[in-house]
């Protein structure tokens, strides 16, 4: 149980994917202009990250490692992610058009989201995961849990960011600071807030 809580706190707050590990910055800046689309993007990414961990971790441990072809991991992972995203898109279109309308436009973007490939690469690095989460050993369950809560951490950060940006757009700002620079400076303060957890 303690390990379980440790994984959640570490994935969501201490090692937050966006503001501490700098993964998934592109959607964090690109799709955070309003609250609704930020939440949609966050949940879509969480969903894909969880399923990615569920599939890539066993592929690495039970297929690539025994065959001694670990060097192919990048190519295999990116193909798995691209196919997962494609399949989710088709499944959503077929079974839940309303969910598809809410999430659909973000799905193609997720293939090239570094948070997804990042989590797939991270969970197979056993030494780093052990030092990151303070757990005794790595297994399938931890990998999937980490994927889920890292995704929720991403959602939390992007939702906070969208709230800040909705306020910022109403302020009179120098034209050179408008857009990305002021968003970066807003992100700087979010990062400071998350920094508190790691002290």
């Amino acid at each position: 149980m303690a390990e379980f809580i440790m994984i959640i706190v570490s994935a969501v707050f201490i090692n937050n994917f966006v503001v501490v590990q700098f993964l998934g910055i592109c959607p964090f800046l690109g799709v955070s202009k309003d609250f609704k689309s930020a939440l949609g993007m966050g949940l879509a990414v969480t969903f894909v990250m969880t399923i990615t961990c569920l599939i890539t971790y066993p592929i690495y441990v039970y297929v690539l490692t025994p065959l001694k072809i670990e060097f192919l991991e990048i190519i295999v992972f990116i193909f798995v992610i691209a196919s997962i995203v494609q399949m989710i898109e088709m499944a959503l279109k077929k079974f839940s058009p309303s969910l598809y309308n809410a999430m659909g436009i973000y799905l193609p973007l997720i293939t090239t989201n570094c948070a997804v490939l990042g989590v797939a690469e991270l969970v197979i690095d056993e030494a780093q995961m052990i030092s990151l989460l303070g757990i005794s050993s790595m297994n399938m369950g931890v990998a999937v849990l980490y994927g889920l809560f890292a995704g929720l951490g991403f959602t939390l950060a992007i939702v906070i960011m969208s709230g800040l940006r909705e306020k910022i757009t109403r302020l009179p700002i120098n034209k050179h600071l408008k857009g990305f620079p002021i968003a970066m400076i807003a992100a700087c303060f979010i990062a400071m807030a998350f920094f508190v957890f790691s002290v």
């Binding site: 991991e73 190519i75 293939t111 490939l117 120098n174 050179h176 600071l177 968003a183 998350f194």
Partner: protein
Amino acid sequence: MKKANFKKIAVDGVVAQNPTLKLVLGTCPTLALTTMAMNGIGMGAAVTFVLICSNVLISLLRSVIPNQVRIPAFVLIIATFVTIVRLVMDKLLPDLYESLGLYLPLIVVNCIILARAESFASKNGVLASAADGLFMGLGFTLALTLMGAVREILGAGAIFGIVLWDFQIGFFASSSGAFFTYGVFIAVFSLCQSLIQKKRAKKEYQLSMASQTLDKVCATDEEVK
């Protein structure tokens, strides 16, 4: 075939369309690796290599790859070159490999490379695409190294690992400092660009005025004759 304008490609890649500061692509490695100037050079070199190779290959294959499956094909090409870089770097430069860590495999999903493949290499000749890869990579490397130098000097009191003084501002070494430095860099870059544009517009105006007066003088000259 129209002749490629190499000067324009060079200026676009390094300054006018700088991928990091103007297009704001490939932000993840920029934020994460600029704690040290050396990381900028290492990451820049890796990205430049992948960018040149993938641009050349995609440009060569641009008439073979069907339009519907071009994105997966591009990603596969990029992933292959990233794997090569990773294996070579692990063997030759293990220290740099360690410090780049997770961000080395993540070059695959770096938007700069896919964006150049999609918007340039799939439409232009091999030489032009190679030049575009080289200069875009250089622009990325320069921006990363510069930002890394600023953060290293302020955050660690050193440059390229050489200690300068015993004065450090922890903020610039932390993750919030990364966002702050990047934001300020983009703002300053945009300011410089608009200043240069203003200056150029003024110069052109003066030139046109000068030529107008010259025309007038010539005309009066002829009348006198």
